[in-house]
């Protein structure tokens, strides 16, 4: 069955700490991978996406993610988090044929001053 798994449900970090959020997927065939962010009370916004090419993708606000095909992973990273990064982060997968996004359960990140 197709699935997306995010390992950490809740993460608390101090400002300037480094961040890595795990995402693994189970999907047949070629996939397109996404990270979305949802700030408190707001709608989902795209952080970054991977379709093909360089497996290290850079997104907005200093985020990056690495696609490791052999590990079926697409982990999100940021070298130094800020208080404004407090949000919910969702990993999502789309099959190569398009269609809807299959989301992970999300990781709630709290950055403390």
């Amino acid at each position: 069955a197709q699935s997306v798994s995010q390992h950490n449900h809740h993460v608390i970090l101090s400002e300037a700490a480094s961040l890595e959020l795990g995402c693994n997927y189970s999907y047949g065939g070629t996939v397109n991978l996404f990270w979305y962010v949802q700030y408190p009370g707001q709608h989902l916004q795209l952080l970054l996406k991977y379709f093909s090419g360089d497996p290290l993708v850079k997104g907005i606000k200093g985020f990056e993610a690495e696609f490791i095909k052999s590990k079926f992973s697409f982990n999100l990273r940021k070298p130094s988090v800020q208080w404004s990064d407090t949000a919910e982060y969702f990993c999502a997968v789309m099959g190569s044929g398009g269609g809807a996004l299959n989301f992970g359960k999300g990781t709630s990140l709290l950055v403390t001053p």
Partner: protein
Amino acid sequence: DARVTQTPRHKVTEMGQEVTMRCQPILGHNTVFWYRQTMMQGLELLAYFRNRAPLDDSGMPKDRFSAEMPDATLATLKIQPSEPRDSAVYFCASGLPGLAGAYNEQFFGPGTRLTVL
């Protein structure tokens, strides 16, 4: 700045009442998605349309939910009758097909927060 709009933003209703949520996709986008977000289940697809035709509504409880696109600028999601377990945030998203039918990005609306008492 093109955005997906949704109305109402908040809705409180009593069990058994009909609820209609509306979505205006970004002009020119031909694909519209409805997702539901709950604490327990996270984000789940309910249905999606391409060129106003339903492509997948397998995530939608058919007995009480219905989704339509009366025209290219309006998508509706209706619940009749509503139940407390329908309480959730309902997101609409729109997109354009890219290479091989994949969508480069789905743009999400602000959501409708539904509370059924």
